[in-house]
Amino acid sequence: MLVATAVSSGVVVLVGAVFLACAVEMVEALTIVLAVGHTRGWRSAFEGTGVALVALTALVAVFGPALIHVPLSVLRLVVGGILLIFGMQWLRKAILRSSGLKAMHDEDEIYRETVAELEAVGTSPNRDRIAFVMAFKGVFLEGLEVVITVLTLGTSAHRLGLAATVAGVAIVLVGIVGVVVARQLSNVPENAMKMGVGVLLVSYGTFWTGEGLKVRWPGNDTMLLVFVALYLLVTWLMIAVLRREPSNVESGVAA
């Protein structure tokens, strides 16, 4: 019974972290591809997207099997450290946005900016190199974050197949929703999702860093749920404290 609970808590946190992280990155990539497609034509947008997906697949094929050969304690320490940094960055951003210290991520604004950037560049009668590069960069950079999340979380938890499947489901789901609603991606509650991902990544980061440093967690995997609760509480407290200061609202910060 205890073992079943421990396994399920680890799996729940893994599935949640991978799903939310992949969904957020997919929303960002899709916004760029839609902007490129609507402005410069779909051919170059799809070509850029396709080449980026091939490059990402090649990266997974090269680095995925190599990670399995890294000693587990080293892998968990490195992965834990990366997840800690990455998770704290996401959480910090979400806290600043929720408390009014940073502008909310606006997909409509990103869409408009990308369209303006593309329209400023003249069209080419031959292949549209600008559109191709824009779509490629958008998909490749956001996709690279998905790859890192899936590889690090999946390999450390010995559940790479599950992590890859969850990532695939998230990407397909967001893709379908994105195509259906076209440019209405700003309706996605991205900040709330980012906060959720931040909490889950920091929880996993804490857990794996400890495992890598031979810390024996009480309750083993169940400790992940304690971390999730702790970091949610801390996030809520930080937002509440920052919101009480009226000078914070909409003052804006670049970092």
Partner: protein, 82 residues
């Protein structure tokens, strides 16, 4: 003489830049904080064999690092607001 960097150099530079942006970016304090956390917990756990202290210190230091980074952003925002 052609001084354009080769494809390999450009790829390596791009790869390095990606990891720099990914891990350090505009929050170097979080990167340094994570290194300090790992150092402190390694000292407690591996060298000192203080497991209970490590269990408490690790999440506590994460909260401290996050709070300091948020505080830094708040100060930056105030300075810009003036």
């Amino acid at each position: 003489m052609n001084k354009e960097p080769t494809l390999v150099i450009r790829l390596l530079k791009g790869f390095g830049m990606f990891w720099w942006d990914f891990l350090v970016g505009d929050t170097p304090e979080l990167f340094v904080g994570a290194l300090i956390i790992i150092g402190v917990v390694a000292g407690l756990s591996e060298a000192g064999h203080h497991n209970a202290a490590s269990v408490v210190a690790l999440p506590l230091l994460v909260v401290v690092a996050l709070a300091l980074s948020v505080h830094r952003a708040q100060r930056t925002a105030r300075r810009k607001g003036r």
